[in-house]
């Protein structure tokens, strides 16, 4: 007698929908995972829920108005986004930004990197199953940083503080002292998170050897920022194609060995230490007074015709702005090369073959901002 198996009991591929309203998708992101047992065999990411046509809208805005739109696109690293945009227009207009403005830009951008990475550490802890603890450690630190941003810019989220050529207005008188105060908090908060997560055995077991990407793969997929460096490519635009005044500071570029989720976490933690060091150096070198806009600043910004691709190292990677101008006061075409979009495009190849539970960790390790993905 031959024993037959019931074909209905065979393991078949099953689609699982995740998102768009799911806490671990970090926004409105949806992916349809095809799983076989616990293994992922295919992923279909769906983005575009937040698409607002920013590139089209910016074609109707003049160069100053476009700055506000950068905030709305990259709402966790607003200063990086503004900086990339301003640099593109400044390069086309051939404007020389005064030193004091450059230093304040660097200080704020690096503080923004801290606040963004705090956000990452908090949210990533939740992805890993630490429940609220990492979040409650990280969020007060982000709040301290945001208080300074609010004092400087008057806004908590949409700063619109950088201008083409410099800054919108002078920082408050106690700016340097306030930044020093906040850095003390940040260093402590960083230590707290480090103590909580980095050497935690469960966290390590959860993160290590998932979502591995080799250096060649990372380059081919156009990854950038911590994702690229985790795969062992020592590439940081602040160091390798320095913009603003980054060539005047001493800092290290952390590089990973394995290209897995744990490396990406470690790199961001180390980057925060480096950012604190950069801010301290910048505060020392900051000229006590001086102009914050060029002396010969035209009232209406007009670029000559031409094109430029500017890029800055945002907390998520290479934030690029491809600006095409036909002359006049509006961009003819403006493409925002957002690091979240490019990093997320590798999701499929990073998750296929992994376990279902790890997909959440891999997505979390990308540190995407959905507004930045969809623009």
């Amino acid at each position: 007698m031959v024993l037959e198996r019931d074909p209905a009991l065979e393991v078949v591929d099953m689609p699982i929908n995740m998102g768009p309203q799911h806490p671990s998708t970090h926004g409105v992101f949806r992916m349809v995972l095809m799983i076989n047992g616990e293994k992922i065999v295919d992923v279909v990411p769906h983005i575009g829920y937040m698409h607002r046509g920013g590139e089209k809208l910016m074609e109707a805005m003049d160069f100053r108005q476009g700055i506000g739109y950068c905030d709305r696109t990259e709402y966790l690293a607003q200063f990086s986004a503004e900086l990339g945009y301003c640099l593109a227009v400044e390069r086309l207009m051939d404007l020389q930004v005064p030193d004091r403005a450059e230093y304040i830009r660097v200080i704020l951008t690096e503080m923004n990197r801290l606040s963004s990475h705090f956000m990452f550490a908090g949210a990533f802890g939740i992805d890993a199953g630490v429940f609220g603890t990492s979040f409650t450690y990280a969020f007060p630190q982000r709040e301290f940083l945001q208080e300074v941003f609010e004092e400087v810019t008057g806004d908590r989220l949409m700063y619109a503080y950088f201008r083409v050529g410099g800054l919108a207005w002078e920082v408050p008188d106690n700016f340097v002292q306030r930044v020093h105060e906040v850095l003390v908090h940040s260093a402590q908060g960083l230590k707290d998170i480090d103590d909580l997560l980095t050497k935690n055995e469960i966290f390590m077991a959860r993160c290590q050897n998932i979502g591995n990407f080799s250096a060649d793969q990372a380059i081919a997929y156009g990854l950038s920022g911590p994702m690229l460096r985790a795969s062992g490519v020592p590439w940081d635009l602040r160091k390798d194609e320095p913009y603003s005044v980054y060539d005047r500071f001493n800092f290290e570029i952390p590089v990973g060995n394995y290209g897995d989720v744990y490396d990406r976490y470690l790199i961001r933690i180390e980057e925060m230490r480096q950012s604190i060091s950069i801010i301290e150096q910048a505060l020392e070198q900051l000229p006590p007074d001086g102009p914050i806009v060029p002396e010969k600043m035209p009232r209406r910004l007009r670029t000559p015709p031409g094109e430029v691709y500017s890029k800055v190292e945002s907390p998520r990677g290479e934030w690029g702005v491809y600006l095409v101008s036909k002359g006049g006061d509006k961009p003819y075409r403006l493409k925002m090369r957002s690091p979240s979009f490019c990093n997320l495009s590798a999701l499929r190849d990073m998750t296929v073959g992994q376990y279902l539970a790890d997909a959440v960790m891999i997505l979390g390790s990308m540190d995407i901002v959905l507004c930045d993905v969809d623009r």
Binding site: G48, P304, E307
Partner: protein
């Protein structure tokens, strides 16, 4: 923000000059009739010849001095465009320098059929070694067609290269390079969404950012106007709007 329909008559194109000319003599400037600030329209200047002797301000320089196109400077001999042409075995339509953040880089224009060969050569040739596709953008040049711009970078040689190709509205097809550079996958899908450029050979050219059924409407093309309110906001929120052009 998606415009509801394509209304060709709704102040569509970038016709700045007629609008600016119409908006220039605003009521705010009327009292100052002794010295009209802005009168770019030729017939108005002819109507008030009396204004000319009383000109305390220097005459406005002619608007036409502003160049319409960026000057094109040929790359110095021995640049990577020559290496690229020999490595790929194609003729480059044009090669010139474009500004980068610091310094300049080479931009080359190729015909669309040469794109895969050029990209493969750029990636694999050891003298170029451009393994990193930074960015892929579409640009609508209106009557001059649609353009696709590839930004490449080499981690080892530390040089960058822009590759451009043009297609017409009637036949907006460019061979896909998603198999050569996997990074191009989503960029090409986005460019198809926004400009309607079909990347032939792409394995999954379905709408990415736009709704699944929105396959015949290309928001970033110039013939696709913004809603009137958006144009209006752009013009009216501007500092000094209505005060003349400068």
């Amino acid at each position: 923000m998606l415009p509801e329909g394509q209304e060709p008559e709704a102040s569509s194109d970038a016709g700045v000059t007629p609008e600016a000319a119409a908006a220039d003599p605003t009521p705010a400037e009327k009292p100052d009739a002794a010295a009209p600030i802005a009168a770019p329209a030729a017939d108005e200047a002819a109507e008030k010849p009396v204004a000319k002797p009383a000109a305390e301000r220097p005459a406005r320089p002619a608007k036409e001095v502003e160049p319409k196109e960026a000057p094109r400077v040929a790359p110095p001999p021995g640049s990577i465009n020559e290496v690229l042409a020999t490595a790929a075995g194609v003729t480059l339509t044009a090669a010139y320098m474009v500004p980068e953040m610091k310094g300049e880089c080479v931009a080359v224009e190729v015909s669309r059929d040469d794109v895969p060969a050029v990209m493969t050569a750029a990636r694999d040739d050891s003298r170029l070694d451009l393994k990193y596709l930074r960015c892929l953008s579409g640009v609508d040049w209106q009557e001059e067609g649609l353009e696709v711009v590839y930004h490449l970078w080499s981690f080892t040689k530390h040089h960058s290269l822009q590759v451009k190709t043009r297609v017409t509205y009637d036949d907006p097809m460019v061979p896909s390079i998603a198999t050569i550079y996997p990074a191009a996958d989503w960029h090409e899908r986005e460019t198809r969404d926004m400009f309607g450029i079909n990347f032939a050979g792409h394995w999954n050219l379905v709408p990415l950012l736009l709704p699944e059924d929105m396959t015949d409407h290309f928001p970033l093309r110039k013939d696709n106007p913004l809603q009137e309110i958006e144009e209006w906001q752009g013009d009216n929120l501007r500092d000094g709007a209505g005060e003349g052009d400068e």
